[in-house]
């Protein structure tokens, strides 16, 4: 699932996963915590499948890979994000998910000097997730999200995990820790703008671990872009320009 975070990178990444794997919609996460929105099928590939209505929170599945994706398409209503996290994690627990992966992002301008010089990708694992995947993650040489002072203004402040611009990322992490839910958070430091390259980077980062598609460097016949962009990504920056402008 995505966190609605800076640059909407998590959501773009989930769009890429659903579109590339041709995942099927299996249901809705009907909630009053998100701003309502509707539109026609964002993953339409032909006239025939373009008329299916989509709402703001939908669940997709790919049984062959035992993969379920939740896509969130709008922002949270003020003060409702905590309630959403509780409902979501309660559903996750009831449905018996083996692990939850949250794709997210954080403001790049919040990085300290060390972070500026290193890879922009970070991960975080709740304790129950660490038990099962720590070895694999370590073998990938990934960087864990650093702890920063809880109250930056105070010199001897305690250190804690903070994800500025990460939306509900921190909330999910905290709830996952306290409720023993196995959650892995994968995020990238980004600035808002054209975040498609960031989304592509994030899904490649995820793919290093989960191998949801064959890594394209292993297959020389594959095109340079193995991830399929959905048809709804057209006109991301608005309509065409009036000729009179020039």
């Amino acid at each position: 699932m995505p966190a609605v975070s800076v640059g909407n990178v998590g959501q773009l990444a989930i769009d890429l996963i659903i579109s590339t794997l041709n995942m099927h919609k299996i249901g809705y996460f009907y909630t009053d915590c998100l701003v309502p929105m509707v539109g026609n099928n964002p993953y339409a590939t032909a006239e025939e499948n373009s008329a299916e209505l989509s709402i703001n929170a939908e669940v997709y599945a790919l049984p062959s890979k035992k993969l379920v994706a939740l896509q969130l398409r709008s922002i949270f209503i003020k003060y409702k994000s905590k309630s959403f996290c509780e409902k979501l994690l309660s559903w996750v627990k009831c449905s018996g998910c083996a692990k939850v992966v949250v794709l997210s992002s954080s403001h790049s301008y919040h990085r300290n000097d060390l972070q500026l010089r290193s890879t922009p990708f970070r991960y975080l694992l709740t304790p129950s997730m660490q038990k099962s995947v720590q070895n694999k993650i370590q073998s990938l040489n990934w960087e864990e999200m650093e702890k920063t002072p809880c109250i930056p203004e105070i010199d001897d402040s305690e250190f804690c995990v903070r994800v500025p611009g990460g939306g509900i990322t921190k909330l999910l992490y905290d709830e996952g820790c306290s409720k023993e839910i196995p959650i892995a958070i994968l995020l990238k430091f980004v600035s808002e703008g054209d975040n498609i390259p960031d989304a592509l980077g994030l899904v490649e980062y995820l793919n290093e671990w989960l191998q949801i598609i064959k890594p394209h460097c292993e297959d020389p016949t594959a095109s340079s872009l193995p991830w399929k962009m959905p048809s709804s990504w057209r006109l991301l920056f608005g309509s065409g320009l009036p000729p009179a402008l020039f």
Binding site: G7, Y28, V38, G39, N40, I55, I75, K82, G165, G167
Partner: protein, 267 residues
Amino acid sequence: MAATFFGEVVRTPCRAGTEEEEEEEDGNRETPEDREVRRQLARKREVRLFRRQTKTTLEVSLLEKHPCSKFIIAIGNNAVAFLSSFVMNSGAWEEVGCAKLWNEWCRTTDTAHLSPTEAFCVFYHLKSNPSVFGSCPRKNMQVTILTCRHVTDYKTSESTSSLHTPFLKALKTQNFKEPPFCSLLEQPNIVHDLPAAVLSYCQVWRIPAVLYLCYTDVMKLDLITIEAFKPVLSSKSLKCLVKNIPQSTEILKKLMTTNEIQSNIYT
């Protein structure tokens, strides 16, 4: 963060809406009094249904009292004017209730003397064929939603200034089988707010529903925009309700004139 021309660094709104998370982090440091104020405000936010004439709250859910097969909802002044002039002018429509809401952003005024074109929520049913709406989604219920949006909200590969406005677009739920009276709203266009909330509910609970969205460049009351909804009069939901179109056009013209006089500040 962004820098202005004068060199100040200002916080820009994040399109993912994450600036509020900082407020919620602060929420962990707020006092019990702050939390209580917030709770009181949240409790005061309400939507209530009542009978406008008597100002009494409806004891039984309006929806249970008047089960129906057709629910038509018009949102916005042009859509409401269309419905009032072309659909509700024929037959006897009886007001069965209205909705009053309050939140911190409301500037609610006296609701007793509003014209049909002003933003408010009133429920009517047709006395000869009572059909309002049921609280339990009924399998044979059909919902029609009418609303307007500014044409600059419409995304297209050509410039929006070259589009011929007003024009109609539709969105329908999976269970709505009737072909719509205009083309469907293509991606990447989406709809927000109340029309989206109604359509989402209908999609999830498998109620046949259709939204007719009129893209216009005139958001105030406008004859051409209102008449752009006319193709919808041929739909199964509205066909049997429309009786006298020439009379409707007269009613509409009168409505426009009334509104124009009211808006002239020099007389």
